[in-house]
């Protein structure tokens, strides 16, 4: 059994949602909000909301797309916003840039529609994060499996999804450690390719565990 020199430390995370001072009642105002809101707000309405709504495995991608769909009634814009995959981004700046591009192009093509009032306003909020050590560490694949099994949804999401921003790599905490701590590059790749959009956090976790079990059988 491989033993990592640097153990994996599991964290627990909890978020407060801070209400910002910006809101939008039209697509034009929405674009302005996207340009000016904090990085924490972009994170909240994309990465964070994906974790909170993990049980919606069809048709929900982020808060921005949901507002364009349900409140602004602009299906075409909603579709484009929903198609943005947060896993493609290594920074909030890059994600914000693409959000603004999509909405900006829509405003340019549909200036009249962009001024129409939505049914309800969009309120820009942001996440305030509190992290604490979960009290579990793993040096081996077996300990790692045990730790993943005991994580809450929020902790699993913290390591599996939002870690991409922290690492500024197209990977997650789990895969990063499997590859660099245990030298299990192939397993790390398989874990990284689990689709968080079409899985719940529970089914994603079950897949991680199954992949680890398969690896353990090989050993």
């Amino acid at each position: 059994m491989n033993l990592s020199e640097t153990p994996f430390e599991f964290f627990t995370v909890s978020y407060l949602t801070r209400i910002g001072n910006q809101s939008a009642g039209t697509i034009t105002e929405f674009l302005k909000g996207l340009q000016e809101c904090s990085d924490a707000s972009i994170f909240h309405h994309t990465f964070q909301t994906l974790g909170i709504h993990h049980f919606l495995t069809e048709g929900f991608s982020n808060d921005f797309a949901q507002w364009a769909h349900a409140d602004a009634n602009r299906e075409d814009l909603a579709e484009q916003l929903a198609a943005l995959d947060v896993r493609d981004y290594l920074s909030i700046a890059a994600l914000r840039s693409d959000l603004c591009r999509v909405v900006g192009e829509y405003c340019a093509e549909h200036p009249a529609l962009s001024e129409q009032a939505a049914l309800d306003r969009f309120y820009f909020c942001e996440s305030v994060e509190v992290t604490l050590p979960f009290g579990l560490t793993a040096g081996t694949l077996e300990e790692f499996r045990d730790g993943i099994l005991h994580l809450s949804h929020a902790s699993f999401c913290f390591h599996f999804l939002s870690s991409r921003l922290r690492l500024q790599l197209q990977t997650n905490d789990f895969s990063h450690w499997l590859a660099n701590g245990l030298g299990l590059g192939k397993l790390a790749d398989h874990v990284n390719h689990i689709d968080i959009y079409t899985n719940t956090l529970d089914s994603a976790r079950a897949k991680v565990l199954r992949l680890i079990d398969r690896e353990r059988k090989k050993a």
Binding site: T12, S14, Y15, L16, T17, R18, I19, N21, S23, I52, H53, H54, F55, L56, G59, F60, Q66, H69, A70, L119, D120, R121, Y123, C125, V128, V130, L132, P133, F134, G135, H150, L151, S152, H153, A154, S155, F156
Partner: protein, 409 residues
Amino acid sequence: MSDAAIASRIPLDDYRALLGQGEIDELRVLAKPLRGRSIGMINSTAVGGGVAEILNRLLPLAEELELNMRWEVMTGGDDFYGVTKGFHNALHGAPYHADPKDFEIFLACNEWNRARLALDAEFMIIHDPQPAALIDGRKKNGNHWAWRCHIDLSHPHRGVWDFLDKFVSRYDAAMFSSPEFSRSLPIPQYLFYPAIDPLSEKNRELEGGLVARMLAQYQIDPLRPILTQISRFDRLKDPVGVIRAYRIVKRYFDCQLVLAGGSASDDPEGAVVLKEVQQEANGEADIHIIELPAWAPLEVNALQRASTIVIQKSLREGFGLTVSEALWKKKPVVASAVGGIPVQIIHKHTGLLAHSVEGAAYQIRFLLSHPEIAARLGENGHEHVKENFLITEKLKRYMTLFLAMARTN
């Protein structure tokens, strides 16, 4: 010790089957740095009302996590509660004549309570406008004060809000049930949701026999679709609008309507609204108007569980916890897009939103025609409540707030 009546201790592990071990462990991890540190909760009523109901379930859970949480209730005379009832309506946007004497009564009562209540906890949470001026009694010991507002402040009476603003601005944070309710304040404002307890009488699983007996008691046919709105008889809950929506649906589906709410006997306005509802129903056999006792958790639970679709067609709403109660029971919900309801109903994912009588009727017809979609919305709604609107999540949010406020010092 607290001076409010608290529900008996609930073992945290009782929630494990519903939430999973990871969520329970996480609560314990978050609680650890807060153990032994004092937390004070102050509101204006020990029984009745959503705040008291939530605190009643929150305190035993906090105790389970070895948190030193105390709940105290401010007291006041009839004149004070008359004034705060007026404030309450005014903050909801009702017309109000601001009499300087009202503000004096409010301040005098808060001053009297400042001398009576212990305001020295490290974390002080003050609920709603009634005790807001207790902030004047803040000790110079570096403790943290947060104001939790449970009401809809989206269109407040200017004079009443300007008066309260002077106090609220001196807190370290304010919490609202919807971003729409937030105000222009110099302090951080957070989104905090009310919560339901899945193990309480109102939400726990019921044996099938009890539901059947309840339907028989109210002469409701279990074999035909049941549309239900649970709410007190209040114009803001639009019970007459619900009957009108039902009548549109009834043209296409042989269904029944249940309008059940707390007794109107001690509420003169409620009695008037009840009469209006009865007039609108006009004795129609399939409209069941049920006056429940003020506290009837089992009846509410059974009626929600028996429903085919739950309706919440409010015109204004603070949060509308009846929506979460119905979603927890995996019921498809059709509700108005007002107040805190859109937080609970993510349109087409966890339920359907409507903006009119005709819209509500259309959404109900759609769900009656597509039971498989109704079932999916109910399942999603249950998960949404599990993630966001359970009492355990509320306690987690409070602990996160305390940890976040403590690190600002």
